[in-house]
């Protein structure tokens, strides 16, 4: 908004003949446009904005999702969110040092069950979505060549306090992928690490997978 105002000022000043002032203001506006790489296509901010807007619109326009239909919800997540999330990394980091003790089959099963568990977290959130619910990007700071960044957003509700939600993202071959989420100051991976190690030390990797799977089955039925 600020940038736009400056451009308007610059143009009107130019008409009045203050060429030098207009030039400097235009330069400022250009610098502003440069700084607003936030919205540039391919940036992590643009991706987060696109995904969150898509998901919000999908929820708002689909009563089946809003009423918490698990099948529709899983479908929505698969279509709109999954392509932009590195669940494998999320699971690996949550499992921490136990990840390497798992066989590839166990790793695969763990990723699958943990993913379903995280989708279930969504089921509680979607019922809170109202028509006026909107996601706003907050300014983020990171070097231009960063490959591990945090995009900050806030979810605004018609009633109730705004909820800050941050996305931790990593750049890989195919572009930016989300691998950790922070809601109200709580990072998702960090919040599962203790529970994972607790389950693994009690029943091994298979115990953890079984425990996740049991909870997931209860939800799907």
């Amino acid at each position: 908004m600020v940038c736009l105002d400056k451009q308007v000022i610059a143009l009107s000043t130019f008409r009045r003949g203050f060429g030098w002032l207009a030039a400097s203001l235009l330069a400022l506006a250009m610098a502003c446009a440069g700084a607003a790489h936030a919205q540039a296509p391919g940036s992590p901010e643009a991706l987060v904005k696109k995904v969150t807007d898509d998901v919000l619109n999908a929820i708002k326009s689909d009563p089946a999702v809003q009423s918490g239909n698990p099948r529709r919800l899983l479908q929505l997540v698969d279509e709109k969110i999954l392509p932009y999330v590195n669940f494998e990394k999320t699971t690996r980091l949550a499992a921490g040092r136990y990840w390497r003790q798992a066989t590839p089959e166990q790793q695969q099963a763990l990723v699958k069950e943990f993913r379903t568990t995280l989708v279930r977290t969504y089921s509680g959130a979607v019922s809170a979505v109202k028509q006026q619910t909107a996601v706003e990007l907050l300014p983020s700071r990171y070097p231009a060549d960063a490959t591990d960044v945090v995009v900050r957003t806030v979810i605004k509700q018609p009633s109730g306090d705004p909820v800050p939600v941050d996305y931790r993202m990593e750049k890989d071959g195919q572009g930016w992928k989300i691998y950790d989420v922070n809601v109200l100051g709580v990072w998702l991976i960090e919040n599962y690490r203790n529970q994972f190690s607790q389950q693994i030390s009690q029943g091994g990797i298979d115990g953890l997978i079984k425990s996740l799977a049991e909870r997931n089955r209860q939800f799907e039925n």
Binding site: R97, R100, T117, S123, D148, R168, G185, N194
Partner: protein, 261 residues
């Protein structure tokens, strides 16, 4: 009243230790885990048996505009201590905003019944004395689950006590005992009703609801205090120093998850 609570705490304490999951590595932030788990279980039982059904009944019977008014009035009263604590935390800007919120909502908002301040772009900014102590540099101390009140720490429990005693518009200033008790009751029911939307989410998503609640509480409090000190959020470092059986170096590098900034 106090005697009853003490008895409940003691009863809860007696069953302690048995409930700590076997074989799990103890968390250095939670040396009182045995006791805490017992109180957690007690709170959960009280909630399922009494609080939640009563709150559900309240939501079913009382129309939404009235509940919203009740919620806003209690929140407006709570804003008084938030304003005081914001000043104590050297956040004059938030303190002034919150003071203005209280003045605006108490007058134009009919004793806080309507949260006009939020509607006019002045959102609520909570602050409590536990947080103030944290901003002043006091460590959180061990994690502590309080009977009825839920997750806390040694520091935050002290902060809660100070907030309770220092509150100039506290419910305990009401002289008429039946009225006072009714207001207390309404406040508890209101607080629980506000959480009904969350539903059984905790049971669904947590492998161990106790650990989930504890870790979330400690993370949230730390982030609130960092925010109040206007420190940049620290990113969790998921890197692993101890890869003895490192046979896939490429994978280990990506598994480190170290921010490259």
């Amino acid at each position: 009243m106090n005697k009853n609570i003490l008895a409940l705490v003691l009863a809860a304490g007696l069953t302690a230790c048995a409930s700590v999951p076997e074989g799990a590595p103890p968390d250095p932030r939670d040396p009182l885990e045995g006791f805490n788990r017992s109180v957690y279980k007690f709170n959960d039982t009280v909630d399922r048996a009494v609080l939640k059904p009563v709150a559900q009944g309240y939501v079913n019977v009382v129309p939404s505009p009235v509940r919203s008014c009740v919620r806003n009035i209690f929140a407006n009263v709570g804003d008084v201590m938030s304003a005081l604590n914001s000043f104590l935390q050297n956040r004059a800007h938030d303190g002034i905003n919150t003071t203005f919120r209280v003045l605006f909502n108490t007058t134009m908002g009919v004793f806080g019944c309507f949260d006009l301040a939020t509607e006019n772009g002045l959102p609520r900014n909570r602050a409590d004395f536990g947080q103030t102590l944290g901003v002043w540099g006091v460590g959180s101390g061990p994690y502590l689950v309080l009977p009825f009140l839920g997750p806390s720490t040694i520091r935050d429990a002290g902060g809660t006590a100070v907030d309770f005693l220092a509150d100039p518009v506290a419910v305990r200033n009401i002289d008429n005992v039946p009225v006072r008790n009714s207001v207390y009751g309404l406040r508890i029911v209101n607080a629980r009703a506000n959480l009904l939307e969350v539903g059984n989410l905790l049971d669904q998503v947590a492998l161990d609801p106790y650990a989930f609640t504890r870790d979330a509480y400690l993370q949230r409090r730390a982030s609130l205090i960092r925010g109040a000190r206007s420190e940049d959020a620290e990113l969790p470092d998921y890197s692993l120093p101890d890869y003895e059986d490192d046979d896939e170096p490429a994978d280990a590098a990506s598994a480190s998850g170290k921010p490259k900034q």
